[in-house]
């Protein structure tokens, strides 16, 4: 997607502050637009949005109430944030000013998504090895990130060097890595 597509889609919505498109399942920033330069890093925010949508999907599925129409709404002190799955490969995060009426924000978001959907590339997303995604997840969320590789190596009983190339881990090693990650993060399951 080139920049004018997002900009054009967003231009008419005065209360819209930013739009971020996240590529799944790796939660990487695909594209973004901001009305004014904000004090955040788009890459980081896009990652968190992707993780939020994934967690939400898992939670709803465990409740037996998931549908592809699900939407995450966050009302913070200064923003309304609406997160939607555009399709299985992309998540759209729209950040509105706090004063925007929620109903209007939802309406604008639906329209924006339709326009964005048309411009998205039709590609087959190649899923990277799960161990790679687990390591990335750990580096994003584990406390003391600079020691996390050493901690995982100790807990999983894996050589440090092997964690520098997690794509080469065999199934048993990948499972040990995942168990260590769950213990470090205090999670029962790892949705990556």
């Amino acid at each position: 997607m080139n920049e004018p597509v997002l900009a054009a889609a967003a231009r008419e919505v005065a209360s819209l502050r930013a739009v971020l498109v996240t590529a799944m399942p790796d939660c990487l920033l695909f594209d973004s637009w901001q009305r004014d330069t904000a004090g955040w890093a788009d890459e980081e925010v896009a990652t968190y949005f992707g993780d939020l949508v994934r967690s939400n999907r898992s939670a709803l599925k465990s409740l037996g109430s998931w549908s592809s129409e699900m939407q995450v709404t966050i009302e913070s002190a200064d923003s309304i944030i609406l997160l939607n799955e555009i399709d299985t490969h992309f998540v759209c995060g729209c950040i509105f000013e706090r004063g925007a009426p929620l109903g209007m924000a939802r309406l604008h978001t639906r329209r924006l998504i339709e326009q964005i959907r048309e411009s998205l590339p039709r590609v087959e997303v190649e899923e990277r090895p799960r161990a790679v995604r687990v390591m990335e997840f750990l580096h994003r969320y584990a406390p003391d990130p600079h020691t996390v590789t050493m901690r995982v190596a100790l807990r999983a009983g894996l050589p440090l060097a092997s964690l520098e190339k997690p794509e080469a881990l065999d199934d048993r090693q990948a499972e040990a890595l995942e168990n260590a990650a769950k213990a470090i993060l205090g999670l029962q399951t790892l949705n990556v």
Partner: protein, 413 residues
């Protein structure tokens, strides 16, 4: 409380103690659990705390002529609060009972530091559990190992309180007695200073006087220098660290280096947070000097603070700005324990000292003290993240190996 003056080591009723902050304490425990796994880690930490506190509370009760269980329980609870570990209420008999903790140092500070970022599945207060068990043992004249404890609820798991169930056990075989002041004395060599000795010694004296007056607030916490400080027992740190190392040496020799690296990292954590907090404080200006940006001020300050906190007689043997620092500890709290418990080592074992010396060099050269930086986790990551460190440390001599002192060299990479 006694100060073994030529060695800058401190003892309470014969039990060696020192001061560490919550950043260090949490990282230390985390490392033990990383090495041993949660279940064994909890057990080793609990048993170490129980033994260490038994070794303090039994002689302390005797010295203060506390003879009845009620007197001894009261003493234990007050000691716990005064030393910055939080508030503990013991409802116990000789067969066990329950204990309830509020603002427990580990659980509370874990929630403060990490609670918003990660969830914790295991309880955090093995030290408080060990303390409660030891207090019960001492109150009723039972030998160490007679009381077990399980933390049923913990605020670090987002439960409303910390609560412990205590029960009577048959002491298992091979419970090692804690290392005492007398053991330390047996294994300490001669004391010596280094460069800038007069100034370092004077600051250390002032700091020792200052920390002696520090006590827990109404929560039972010591909130000072931007950290939560505890008066803690050397036996706990040493036993847990060395048991973790010995375990990994047996179970996974190829991973020993990782374990040692994390124990050194704990030294970075301590120096950055506690030493840094002290150096940046108004109290530092009162007892030492304002920081002008000269790295030597931090080097000297590091040695003085270590002494002031009861880490031992650390001194500066050689310093080349930006290039090289040789620090010597003619005494520290690691080596005497190791020698008393395990005998001579075949390699250097003073991991905390190694990591701390390196971190002092990093603080001296990579922090702009005149700008009064905030000692945040982000700054820590920036300073101590792998290749960005800028210095490396090697141990030249180590008292655990039978050398006359422990000496490390920090070099620019």
């Amino acid at each position: 409380m006694t100060l073994l003056e030529p060695h800058d080591l401190t003892f309470m009723a014969g039990a060696p103690y020192l001061y560490h902050c919550h950043h260090y304490n949490l990282f230390h425990d985390q490392t033990v659990d990383d090495v041993l796994g949660e279940e064994a880690g909890q057990r080793v930490r609990f048993e170490a705390a129980r033994a260490a506190y038994h070794g303090l509370l039994a002689p302390l009760s005797a010295r203060l002529d506390k003879r009845t269980p009620a007197e001894r329980i009261e003493l234990a609870q007050e000691l716990f609060r005064a030393t910055g570990h939080g508030r503990m209420s013991l409802d116990i008999t000789a067969d066990g009972g329950t204990a309830r903790g509020e603002y427990l140092h580990y659980g509370y500070t874990w929630s403060e530091k990490y609670g918003d970022a990660v969830r914790r599945l295991e309880t955090a207060d093995a030290v408080a559990a060990g303390f409660a068990a030891a207090a019960t043992q001492v109150a009723f004249g039972l030998p160490d190992g007679s009381i077990g404890a399980r933390e049923r609820q913990c605020v670090a798991r987002r439960e409303p309180v910390c609560e412990f169930a205590l029960s009577r056990r048959t002491p298992g075989p091979g419970i090692a007695a804690p290392v005492t002041e007398e053991d330390f004395k047996r294994h300490l060599g001669g004391s010596r200073g280094g460069q800038h000795e007069e100034q370092i010694g004077a600051i250390a004296d002032a700091l020792q006087g200052f920390v002696k007056g520090v006590g827990g607030d109404e929560r039972g916490l010591v909130d000072a220098f931007g950290v939560f400080v505890t008066l803690h027992l050397a036996n706990y740190y040493d036993q847990t660290a060395y048991e973790a190392v010995r375990h990994i040496e047996q179970a996974a020799p190829s991973s020993v280096g990782l374990c040692e690296a994390l124990l050194r990292e704990a030294g970075h954590v301590c120096v950055f947070n506690t030493f840094g907090g002290i150096l940046a404080s108004p109290e530092w200006e009162a007892v030492a000097y304002p920081l002008s940006g000269d790295p030597l001020e931090i080097i000297k300050g590091g040695a003085a603070i270590a002494r002031g906190l009861g880490f031992g007689r650390w001194s500066v043997d050689e310093y080349v700005p930006g290039q090289r620092l040789v620090m010597c500890a003619s005494s520290n709290y690691e080596a005497p324990f190791y020698l008393a418990r395990y005998g001579r080592s075949d390699k250097p074992r003073c991991y905390f000292f190694q990591g701390a010396a390196l971190a002092i060099m990093v603080l001296a050269h990579r922090v702009k003290w005149q700008e009064k930086p905030r000692l945040s986790q982000a700054l820590y990551n920036e300073l101590f993240r792998g290749a960005g460190l800028g210095f490396e440390v090697t141990a030249n001599r180590c008292a655990t190996r039978g050398d006359d002192c422990t000496e490390v060299v920090v070099r620019a990479t």
